[in-house]
Assembly symmetry: C2
Homo-oligomer: 372 residues x 2
């Protein structure tokens, strides 16, 4: 049986990433027939009652988890976070306007560059690029101009391995956040953001659906700006909001999995429980780094470290190669650092069990003793 193949396999993929085993079991069981209706979710009309229920479950699950207030809409879109990099400026920066970007890693920089690429004025509001992205700036370093349409941040920098710890800001202009790699990993005050977006494939589902949480009273502006720019219909937030994310055929199966993952997360105790678990997992991996006497070299300054993606280096290239080989032999998957930076990256999103991090810690300690 295929389930047995999974024993001894530890999925540290950076995204698409591990899903909770309970969710996979449920998806498998329900695959031929959802709710006794005799149809798979994969072959279900997006205008059917069954799918109405599925999308409502996904939305409600996210609303409960994140405490999303009624002031904010929840949209399920396609195109990944990469399409959001273009949609955000095109919908919210009016002709002649500008927006500020806090550049804390490669994805943050891509968001900044895309705004420029599509002809909008993007300004660096703060950047730690010169410091090799080793830290997250403090809010006092963020130079916001009152005339900007918004400030954009990336709450977790998936590649370099840093994360905003303090999201309480006092900006007087709208805040937009790419939360692709840490949404639902800890409690967050959604009311402090005008727009949050996240590709689902790390913490809340499979690849193929993008969650957007947006203040409804911001959409009227977006509609005007989108019209003036002659934006494609599919790139207009106001259209998706008006059509309840069904202007065209949504990725129904991916939305179904978001529902299952959100419900699983609630059953685990919600985001407070997730935060505790994620701290525990991060403590295991960072412990192995910090107690290695420099054998494992953490990339990020400790106060800015991510609980989702821990990054480190091993000085000797041969030893590093050996580390990745042995790790692979022992069932640890996905530890190679991103091709743009090298090194080692441990992605431990919500669905990665504490046990996997404990096993990895044991391996890291053992490896260090043998190779130091």
């Amino acid at each position: 049986m295929a389930w047995e193949d999974r024993r001894g396999v530890y999925n540290f993929n950076p995204g698409p990433a591990a899903l909770p085993e309970e969710v996979l079991r449920r998806a498998q069981e329900e695959l031929p027939s959802y709710g006794g209706g005799g149809l798979s979710v994969l072959e279900m009309s997006h205008r059917s009652k069954a799918y109405d229920e599925i999308q409502a479950r996904a939305e409600l699950g996210l609303r409960r988890l994140l405490g999303i207030p009624d002031s904010h809409r929840v949209l399920f879109l396609q195109g990944g976070a990469s399409l959001q990099f273009a949609m955000v400026p095109l919908n919210f920066i009016p002709e002649g306007g500008a927006a500020g970007y806090v550049v804390t890693g490669s994805w943050a920089e891509k968001a900044y560059q895309e705004a420029d690429k599509v002809g909008c004025r993007a300004v660096v509001a703060a950047s730690t690029k010169e410091e090799g992205y080793r830290r997250i700036p403090s809010w006092t370093e963020v130079q916001a101009d009152a005339a900007w349409a918004y400030v954009h941040i990336t709450t977790n920098n998936t590649i370099v391995g840093s994360q905003w710890q303090d999201l309480r800001h006092s900006l007087s202009i709208p805040l937009v956040a790419d939360m692709s790699s840490d949404i639902c990993s800890r409690p967050v005050r959604v009311e402090d953001f005008h727009l949050i977006y996240a590709g689902a494939q790390k913490n809340i589902g499979p690849a193929g659906v993008t969650v957007v949480i947006v203040r409804e009273d911001w959409l009227a502006q977006a509609e005007e700006i989108a019209k003036a720019r002659k934006l494609p219909t599919m790139l207009r937030y106001a259209v998706h909001a008006k059509n309840d994310s069904r202007y065209n055929t949504p990725p129904v199966f991916a939305v179904y999995l978001v529902a299952l993952v959100a419900e699983w997360t609630l059953e685990q105790g919600g985001l407070t429980a997730m935060e505790a678990r994620n701290r525990e997992k991060a403590a295991l991996v960072y412990g192995a780094i910090d107690e290695s006497d420099g054998f494992y070299q953490g990339v990020i300054d400790p106060p800015s470290r991510s609980w989702m993606n821990a990054t480190f280096r091993i000085a000797d290239a041969e030893v590093k190669k050996r580390f990745l080989e042995e790790a692979k032999e022992q069932g640890f998957i996905g530890l190679n650092g991103h091709r743009s930076v090298g090194g080692i990256r441990v992605s431990m999103y919500n669905a990665v069990p504490v046990e996997a991090c404990a096993k990895l810690r044991t391996f890291m300690d053992d490896f260090r003793r043998r190779y130091r």
Copy 2:
């Protein structure tokens, strides 16, 4: 067991639509672990060897089925056919240029309108709107201007229920086709098209992935035009082609299902076998209409009828209501006509078995006898 729920259920959904039962069984079996690797396709990196294989299987399956020549690239995108409505003109109509649209139904009209909406010049090359879309025009009716970037057609009109029977054209300018609702339903000469697109959710997979087949030598132009227009990166065909459909995270599970469906279709005997089966299915349903002495009124002129979506009306509104109620009770799903046109629509894509159409025919004959 959930499989039993499916007995006596006949899925005539217009899209997302029926998938072959063999494909669903395979997807269920492999859900926990693909290829013995201990990971679900749902949690697999798009940069992994396993996913390289999956995407290659999907592409090869489509190449074999459709006989796609080396001159054409195969891309797996997001956003549905609706995003293609914008991408096609934005990438291929240069500043100051124009393109022609053959308007044969609501989707064809939407494609035409979207080109205009995004600021491109779209011209009607032929239209049967005045005739209630009851027929497909002949090629001699298509007025193509040599200066146009392309002519756009919709090979199957999902809502009204008409289909191009003769795709052999003698246009001297590029032909672009929306094949969302009849791709892979019959053999087609791909070399006669510069670009073909299709949302997967009818004949080739689940919702959430869009297949684009495009002549490679046309992409250099698209790159220039996209750059001049400052198009979002995600809307540039050349970018997706250069990155082998992995500029960003693709919908991996949806692509996997395209691979399974393409392989299933090959096993059934490929597109010649599909055509024969689809003719047989269509003959059953249209037979019920044509032998009903006007009780069932076909919407489309017989030479333009679709093998994929058969549409008809029942004159008496009460009887029509009763028809839909009884059909539902007997397990026939998805027969309501599109909300924009009403009536009855039988969507019988590749995965709908002949048996389902035979059962429906029996029901239609019986119902007519009782209610005429």
